[in-house]
Symmetry: none
Subunit: 224 residues, 2 copies
DNA sequence: GCCGGTCTTGACGGGTTCCTGACGCGGGAG
DNA sequence: CTCCCGCGTCAGGAACCCGTCAAGACCGGC
């Protein structure tokens, strides 16, 4: 899902964090001291940094100072010291959150989710393009060859569900459930009707779908 | 500097927070229960919300749910309960930070600074122009072909909400919520009435809207 | 109390969207 | 070869949504 750089000098904690973060779907990069941390942050392009303040070579604030001029992603600071003076110092040095050891792993994960959630909209590409049409998720607008096309609410709900998973197959149950609700899991003819309408509005040749393909018996797939 | 909405039912804490935040250079708006909180959040346009979870009328999560669909600024949750399950729940419900009572005031301020630092600068161009009329968001004035037009408070609230998102579709729920408050989510006829009034005052041809377009079933869109 | 402006509320006609059933086609199974 | 399931297509009626108008409620200033 997203890349996390974990900086800590305690190998045991590092290992625990790596396992937990992997299980939560993150890609994990680790560093055991400040110098490596700065190096890894530059080369691995993490989305978020988890930084222990008690490092053998550099002070935690020094790492933050080295990071902040060019790294714009969120930084979550871990520390054994819990008094508020340290927290204020770290937060004002550029940290986005501060968690005292010992900490609860599920809370750490939730705080990471909150940080990533906020960072995501900027990085996330809310506009999907194909050679023939573009879908702007944020503005809720579709244009074919540059001219805006009007979609009904149902058409839009269906299209956005497909476009949010480019190249991936989306099961008909999932489509029906997220557009019409859990009670309509069996009404596959709805899909046929509305897919046809979408293709008529978007595809260059609606009879030979190029972007909104159907996988017989399984579902549909949007291929940019 | 920035506007803070503080939601807490303890008048003493509310007063302390107001004084401290004022001293730190913030503008402070307060609410003592969930309903007022949602209403104030809609009308006062705060940059950040400090939300106590233990409110007399609504559950804290309900306030978050009412807030999140349209409020994009950071939310810092205060709570008397400190176990990690509550923290995870609040963070996953859309909170950006979680502080347990009793808390250190300087830490709260530092966390607010961190949240505001990351928050979008919101350097919106305060004056929006179209070939036919201009909207000055800062001066609260609209001119059509150079001549000022009088708008009622409700008309203005609706127009500014639309103009703040040029080209983007604004859902009718969001419009109703931010103009009339969360209790009016279903009164879509208000929108019809006031959109008609706005079009009569602004559009060159009110019968064929060019700038304030309606997307049936979804909402309205301002296109410059 | 009166009056002007503003906000709410209800009703109606016209247009659009949604659901539903029917039909034809094609490919795989028997 | 035939049957049958799944898919695409089409069309019609019901339900919904929107724009419009007007009358009553509300609230301030005078």
């Amino acid at each position: 899902m997203s890349r996390v750089l974990v900086v800590d000098d305690d190998p045991q904690l590092l290992r625990a964090l790596r396992i937990t973060l992997r299980a939560a779907g993150h890609e994990v990069v680790t560093a055991a001291d400040g110098r490596t941390a700065l190096h890894e942050a530059a080369s691995a392009h993490p989305d978020v940094v988890v930084l222990d303040l008690g490092l053998p070579d550099l002070d935690g604030t020094e790492v933050l100072d080295g990071l902040r001029p060019w790294f714009s992603g969120p930084v979550l600071v871990l520390s054994a010291r819990g008094d508020s003076h340290d927290k204020v110092a770290a937060l004002d040095a550029g940290a986005d959150d501060y968690v005292s050891k010992p900490f609860d792993m599920s809370e750490l994960l939730a705080r990471l989710r909150a940080l990533l959630r906020r960072g995501a909209p900027e990085v996330d590409e809310p506009v999907v393009r194909t050679p023939h049409f573009t879908v702007d998720l944020a503005a809720r607008q579709v244009t074919v060859d540059g001219v805006p096309v009007r979609l009904t609410p149902t058409e839009w709900a269906l299209l956005s569900e497909l476009v949010r998973a480019p190249g991936r197959l989306v099961g008909q149950r999932q489509l029906l459930q997220s557009v019409w609700g859990p009670a309509y899991e069996k009404e596959t003819n709805y899909l046929r009707v509305y897919l046809a309408q979408l293709r008529r509005k978007l595809e260059p040749d609606p009879a030979a779908p190029r972007y909104l393909r159907t996988e017989p018996g399984m579902g549909y797939r949007f291929t940019p």
